[in-house]
């Protein structure tokens, strides 16, 4: 016969664990928290203005970037069918039956 103490039921163990979780001492931020928030706000005001990378704030680079995006997007192809539009209208193709 074993002398080992009866092991608590799993539900009891689980409830006990959750009780321990709730009973943890409430943590607090270090003292002078408000002062640090205040300092961060004061430091963050000029930082918000420079959120964009420096090169993007130069108009010439921004225009160049826009041009590159347009060139790579394939929108140039839309002009070609327009140029051939008159030719297509003069000789309509029959639709296959």
């Amino acid at each position: 016969m074993s002398n080992a103490p009866a092991r608590p039921a799993p539900d009891e163990e689980w409830d006990d664990l959750l009780r321990q979780l709730r009973a943890q001492p409430p943590a607090q931020p270090r003292p002078y928290f408000y002062q640090r928030v205040h300092a961060r706000l004061a430091a963050g005001a000029p930082a918000a203005a420079v959120a964009l990378p420096g090169w993007l704030r130069r108009p010439a680079y921004a225009v160049l970037l826009g041009g590159v995006v347009l060139a790579l997007s394939g929108d140039g192809a839309t002009f070609r069918p327009a140029a051939r539009g008159g030719q297509a209208a003069s000789s309509p193709r029959l639709l296959p039956r």
Binding site: L18, A27, Y34
Partner: protein
């Protein structure tokens, strides 16, 4: 856009508590929207504990939790003009704290993965020191250690389950409050908690 509350003067010592009844959150928000720094100070003092504890519960790092908590109040200050009071102030703060903590954690994980890949490719000669893993089941048998094991397992839950479990069992929020924070329904919260508990009990 930053709310034009004047915060140019250095903060003085914390204001003493008024003798009258404490100002309700809604009134604090209204005062802050009118530009009262005293209201902001009171708001921070009143809610810093719960914001910090929520971040700490999700990050398990006092430094990172402090950083997230500061960020939450900076965001409150900057966007209070858009707060319409449809939800409780505390709900909004919990939302900011949980989303901030999860974002912080994702960033840290991405950085860690990048450092790992960099080390594999040999771009730097730094040796990656992995923090010791104290979460081995054999090492965590009793009392406080069992709690640490639980916390380690909670950290591995999917984000929504982890937030729901933390808000319920550490912050002791009601199901309705958790639903408001997560922007979901009470049955959805019940489902999240059920799955979280099931996973945790299987692993412990």
């Amino acid at each position: 856009m930053a709310h034009p509350v004047p915060l140019l003067e250095a903060p003085g010592p914390p204001a003493t508590a008024p003798a009258s009844a404490p100002v309700a959150d809604a009134e604090l928000v209204a005062q802050l929207q009118r530009g009262s720094e005293a209201a902001f100070r009171t708001l921070v003092a009143r809610h810093q504990g719960r914001v910090y504890r929520t971040a700490l519960a999700l990050l398990r790092s006092p430094e990172e939790a402090e950083d997230v908590a500061q960020e939450v109040f900076v965001e409150v200050y900057q966007t209070i003009g858009r707060f319409r009071g449809e939800a409780a102030l505390s709900t909004w703060l919990y939302q900011l704290a949980t989303s901030g903590a999860l974002k912080n954690r994702r960033r840290a994980r991405a950085k860690k993965r990048l450092a790992y890949v960099t080390s594999l490719l040999g771009f730097n000669n730094a040796v990656l020191h992995h923090p010791p893993d104290h979460a081995h089941p054999l090492a965590l048998l009793e009392g406080q250690q069992q709690l640490q094991l639980l916390l380690a397992r909670v950290a591995r839950l999917p984000d929504a389950q982890q937030v729901a479990f933390t808000l319920r069992h550490e912050q002791e929020l009601s199901y309705a409050e958790i639903a408001a924070v997560l922007g979901t329904s009470v049955p959805a919260v019940e489902s999240l908690l059920f799955r979280a508990r099931q996973t945790l009990r299987q692993q412990l």
